[in-house]
Symmetry: C2
Subunit: 463 residues, 2 copies
């Protein structure tokens, strides 16, 4: 293809663009939003991988396709995808489809900018600052820092990197070989990202010391102290404790105040992984579960989970006011963070992160919050707790639900192939596989809980 | 708030949801898409930060707001945001608004799932595999592995982590202290994420050895070899070379074949950061710029840049067929990656990454590719090269454009406040600040280049 003469532009026909997007949006509304949240439709249309491949016709060709073909592809993609906003989707720690959050996400996608400088994201730089300020206020801080990260795992890694940098600023330049062996502490119920993070950051998984948890899954502070003393005796330098507010499998809340005492005594960075449980801070009734969180040095909180803001919306919050984030992660790239700009370059937040381009994750949460108000979000949290209590009471009433038996994988296969609901299962300690019920979707009602219990009985009646 | 009795559900009124989203979508089409890509509208509506804060009324309150207020907020957010799809936006390495990619993004947001298991992302697990296969084929590999990452910086970090794990698998468990001092090599024109990555991964920025570049910004292979020998003499173990295909400031393509020879001689992992330049592989006319890329061990390629797929779409591609990704990053979380599932658990790709939840980044690229075909995308690349050549020729014809002078920050302020266009500037070596022209937007035509040159003359006529 010769390149001496530019071709006339291939794109840029606004009428055709608008028509296409209107059609796609109609499909999205009908298939993903209306049917996707209707209890009378399936949660998923299960297909074996080989059959699904055929149905999707995934191969990318040299020739483009017609508008009709593309619209049909959109329908097919939605049809065979799992409906995470469906009232019978309990499979993950996220579910539900908040319309205002979705509106924020559609606007984000249409604006398609990166969060690194005020220059190209003026609205979102200011908005992120305001949203983080609000989340920090709920933690109990009236100053501090923070940033939205691509998921809770990376938020947790940030905390680990900041903690070691604060103690050993040399690490950034000279690396871990210049440091003594480090140790960090978390309970056996912690999220697996702590271990993954230790490996990725070069600390090694051996640096993670596992603290015992009680029968409800809460870290035992006395064992934490024992482990710290043991690590020191073995020649390691403890530097961080990661407590969990809302563990992944049992939903346990670690006793933060008692853990903060231990951290204070030993001079350790106190991180709280509140990816799942952080949103409980919005509820005046239940926020006592996180008492002591204001004593943390850092908090990871994912509004994409319990608040249904949409993937991904994960905040790392810091009590620090010394610009630690920028000192730890910054590299002052002169092509992006010019210091001779005509506005206050403190607004260029891109050097706080290890990413370069960074998605706008604040608008969806901000718009939902503006629409619901703090009160509306609080009601949702309280509703989730109330439905959970209802579920527990109903289970107690029903025969056959007391015992955790080895039927979860069979029931799971049956529910997915029937398409009526999705619940996650896993083993835990000496317990066999059991279903983990996640009550988060804002559209859930008692009737959905009743359906769930009835359907589990139905699916398992021959077992 | 009592929680003994569940409240009736607050959400779940599909008629109201549909009406809201229809209204928001209308605003998006009018303000972000039609006006946002129209040359007769402003690229940005510049406001000083304090004034913009007032206009946006960002504070999050306890009370929710009415539908009318929310719609007005959507309009305001779009109005004051930069229009990155505008034909006069040349400020970053991404620009343009591809309608099919946007359609894919809207569907992605409406389905709101995570890419970790076949169970909850059946369509997207298969689709990601197919898209990665296609990208690998363009690199020149008929087998391999890969994953979409949240941006090129993290893709580059993955390459670094994989390279050290391959050489020292112990590192995952025992950390960097168990290893000899490591050294990696990249040119002085490399992206700053290499240095950031070295710090984050615990290697330290000192481990990055800077190789000289020629006057066009291309790595000098002879200097690479010298640096390797020097590092070894100083007691370090070289383990990785990161070459760049499309450097950030000068757009240079490193000589990959010659660099591959050096890597082969010294047994080093060969990474190519083709975040910007990878898309040139689609052009039969220009792909020779990346000759030798098929000899790489890993390639980072961001289709959100030159292909306008939308932030973020960043692939890490691997030649490896030994499941290195999963061995290096996996932690076998039993609550998510159950091994007793009723389908082939090799389809659960979540353990390939250090994230847990991971956004679906393949659909936008897949849908755009289906619509344009490889041929359509190739034409866009060729068009970008043709327009660049036209720009160079026109600059040569005009007086006053020869010299790089200290006027870039002044011109930048003037263009942003006027709102007519956005171009990035930066210093480089001994050169003073200069404008970096990025030609990527698919709707660009000669007329836009003519406008750009005329406007620069106009803005600077008194300087």
């Amino acid at each position: 293809m010769a390149d001496s003469k530019p071709l006339r532009t291939l794109d840029g026909d606004p009428v055709a663009v608008e028509a296409l997007l209107q059609d796609v949006f109609g499909i999205v509304v009908d298939e993903a939003i209306l049917k996707g949240t209707s209890a009378s439709e399936k949660v998923c249309e299960w297909k074996e991988p080989e059959e699904l491949k055929q149905l999707l016709d995934l191969e990318l060709q040299s020739q483009g396709e017609s508008r009709e073909q593309i619209l049909e592809r959109c329908r097919t993609v939605i049809h065979y995808s799992v409906k995470t906003g469906h009232p019978r989707f309990f499979n993950q720690l996220f579910s539900g489809l908040d319309p205002h959050a979705l509106a924020g996400r559609i606007i984000t996608e249409s604006l398609n900018t990166s969060q690194y400088t005020y220059e190209i994201a003026p609205v979102f730089v200011l908005m992120e600052e305001e949203v983080l300020k609000k989340l920090r206020a709920l933690v109990g801080w009236n100053s501090g820092d923070g940033v939205f990260c691509p998921g809770g795992s990376i938020s947790n890694m940030y905390a680990m990197n900041l903690a070691r940098f604060q103690r050993y600023p040399d690490c950034k330049q000279r690396g871990l070989r210049a440091l003594p062996p480090l140790a960090l502490f978390t309970s056996k119920e912690c999220h697996y990202s702590i271990t993954k993070g230790a490996a990725f950051l070069g600390l090694g998984t051996d640096s993670v010391r596992v603290v015992k948890a009680d029968e409800r899954g809460r870290m035992i502070p006395e064992d934490l102290e024992r482990q710290i003393i043991l690590a020191e005796a073995e020649g390691s330098v403890p530097f961080l404790v990661s407590a969990t507010s809302g563990t992944t499998v049992l939903g346990a809340f670690d006793p933060l105040d008692a853990i903060a005492d231990v951290c204070q005594r030993h001079g350790l960075w106190f991180h709280v992984d509140a990816a799942w449980g952080g949103s409980v801070l919005l509820s005046r009734t239940h926020r006592h579960l996180l008492d002591g969180i204001q004593r943390a040095d850092s908090v990871a909180w994912n509004p994409h989970k319990l608040l249904a803001a949409g993937l991904q919306c994960s905040a790392l919050l810091l009590r620090d006011t010394s610009n630690l984030l920028k000192r730890c992660h910054g590299s002052q790239a002169s092509y992006l963070f010019q210091q001779d700009k005509f506005y206050d370059v403190a607004l260029d937040t891109g050097d706080k992160v290890v990413q370069c381009g960074r998605r706008v994750d604040c608008l969806k949460l901000w718009l939902m919050w503006k629409a619901q108000g703090g009160q509306g979000l609080e009601r949702r949290i309280d509703q989730a707790f109330a439905l959970t209590r209802y579920l527990v009471e109903e289970i107690k009433k029903r025969e056959g639900f007391e015992l955790v038996m080895e039927v979860a994988p069979v029931l799971k296969e049956r529910m997915v192939k029937k398409g009526t609901m999705m619940i996650g299962y896993q083993p835990h300690g000496t317990r066999a596989n059991f279903f983990r019920m996640v009550v988060a979707n804002p559209i859930l009602a008692q009737a959905d809980i009743d359906f769930l219990l009835g359907e589990l009985e139905l699916l398992g009646q021959d077992l």
